[in-house]
């Protein structure tokens, strides 16, 4: 029993030491990352927030970091099947707030979603279908070649 306890204590101590080391190194890492935008190995995530939307997320940051996908998933089914379109946990709301000021998107090297997902090595599927750009920004981009059925040109030509 005694040896086991000693073992446990030792393990606990080592674990605690490891944690302290890890957290201090990650702090240093973060500082360095924030200062330069990149760390030694993996680029640090970019934390961009649309200033005119305020500086508070819909939930505290630590909750959002861990559980944002749960909120989005729940909202997804509510919206799709029941037509409930509250904005609090909508993906559109995320994008509206977090889209990069320059690109208007949450994707790209400095994109809020992509940079963090790249850092955490988690695949990001949302934007294969959903628009990654802020609504106003999407409207500004002209459609590449919207579908025009046959005869639409001639029909258009008739108009003054």
């Amino acid at each position: 029993m005694r040896t086991v306890n000693l073992h446990r204590t030792l393990t606990g101590f080592m674990l605690a030491a490891g944690l302290i080391l890890a957290s201090s190194s990650s702090l240093a890492h973060e500082k360095e990352g924030h200062a330069t935008g990149v760390s030694g190995r993996v680029p640090m995530p970019v934390h961009s927030v649309n200033a005119d939307k305020g500086d508070k997320c819909v939930r505290p940051e630590e909750v959002m970091r861990r559980d944002h996908m749960k909120f989005i998933l729940h909202q997804r089914d509510k919206t799709m099947h029941e037509g409930i379109r509250t904005t609090q946990y909508s993906l559109k709301n995320c994008v509206d707030c977090h889209a990069d000021a320059k690109t208007g998107s949450v994707l790209g090297k400095d994109g809020f979603c992509e940079s963090c997902h790249a850092y955490a090595a988690v695949k990001l599927d949302c934007f294969e279908c959903h628009s990654a750009s802020r609504e106003a920004a999407t409207a500004a981009i002209p459609a590449a070649s919207p579908v025009r059925a046959k005869g639409s040109e001639s029909a258009k030509g008739k108009k003054p």
Partner: protein, 243 residues
């Protein structure tokens, strides 16, 4: 002040009538403008009434308006491009009479696409709008085969430039959503109906089939209309006139 029995009963009756009437009015009022946190209900059934005699030959403004509204882009390959509405030309071989009509998802009350879907991605909302939940869709295309109207399209290629209100992606099936984002917003119209009105044809009318005071219900009640392939007894939400 004293009141006799008759007056008392009269007052009571009026009070009962008022409480009975007010919630009724409130219901209708709520039905008109649903708040974003309220779920859709079967108190409504959204549909279209299309008058093919007013549909102009060669006009495709409904098709282009639908594409613009929902961010449908052509890849220059018509065989595989998505198509939510198409113009169909009908010709009477005996008389030579030609007419055109827009054809889209008919938003059936008994949708075959929902029956065959193996994952539950194809579903009918409580208010009668038939949709594809692309999060669940595996792209098997059973629904495309089951649909008698060929209303659905499979997305073969990577899509870009989607609208925020109309997510679209490769490997899933899609079709007319009856502009569900506009319905939920309370616009009371669809992109195709708006475009047709703007062109001055007014061939497409959107409305609530369950509301007896809506224009669509009034017209359906007073004028003859048909369902396409009525023999299949699908009870379509899109009705036609003039064919």
């Amino acid at each position: 002040m004293s009141i006799n029995r008759r007056q008392f009963l009269g007052l009571g009756g009026a009070a009962v009538a008022a409480t009975a009437l007010v919630p009724g009015l409130r219901l209708i009022e709520l039905a008109q403008a649903r708040s974003p946190e309220e779920a859709v209900t079967s108190l409504h059934r959204w549909g279209l009434l299309i008058d093919s005699s007013k549909c102009a030959d060669g006009c495709t403004s409904c098709v282009s308006a639908c594409a613009d509204e929902n961010g449908i882009q052509s890849h220059g390959r018509p065989a595989t491009d998505a198509q939510w509405i198409r113009k169909v030309t009908l010709k009477d071989k005996q008389t030579g009479h030609v007419q055109t009509l827009p054809l889209m998802c008919q938003h059936c009350a008994e949708p075959p696409c929902v029956d065959v879907c193996p994952t539950g991605a194809s579903f009918k909302r409580a208010d009668g709008i038939v949709l594809v939940d692309k999060h669940i869709c595996i792209g098997c295309r059973y629904c495309m085969m089951a649909c008698p109207y060929k209303a659905r399209s499979f997305i073969h290629e990577v899509t870009t430039g989607q609208k925020a209100h109309a997510p679209r992606g490769k490997g899933t099936v899609e079709s007319c959503t009856l502009c569900v984002h506009k319905v939920d917003r309370g616009d009371g119209s669809t992109a195709c109906a708006d475009a047709c009105k703007k062109e001055g044809h007014q061939a497409i009318l959107f409305g609530d089939l369950k509301d007896p005071s809506s224009e669509i219900s009034k017209r359906l009640a007073s004028q003859p209309s048909t369902q396409l392939r009525a023999d299949l007894k699908l009870n379509t939400g899109v009705r036609y006139q003039g064919i």
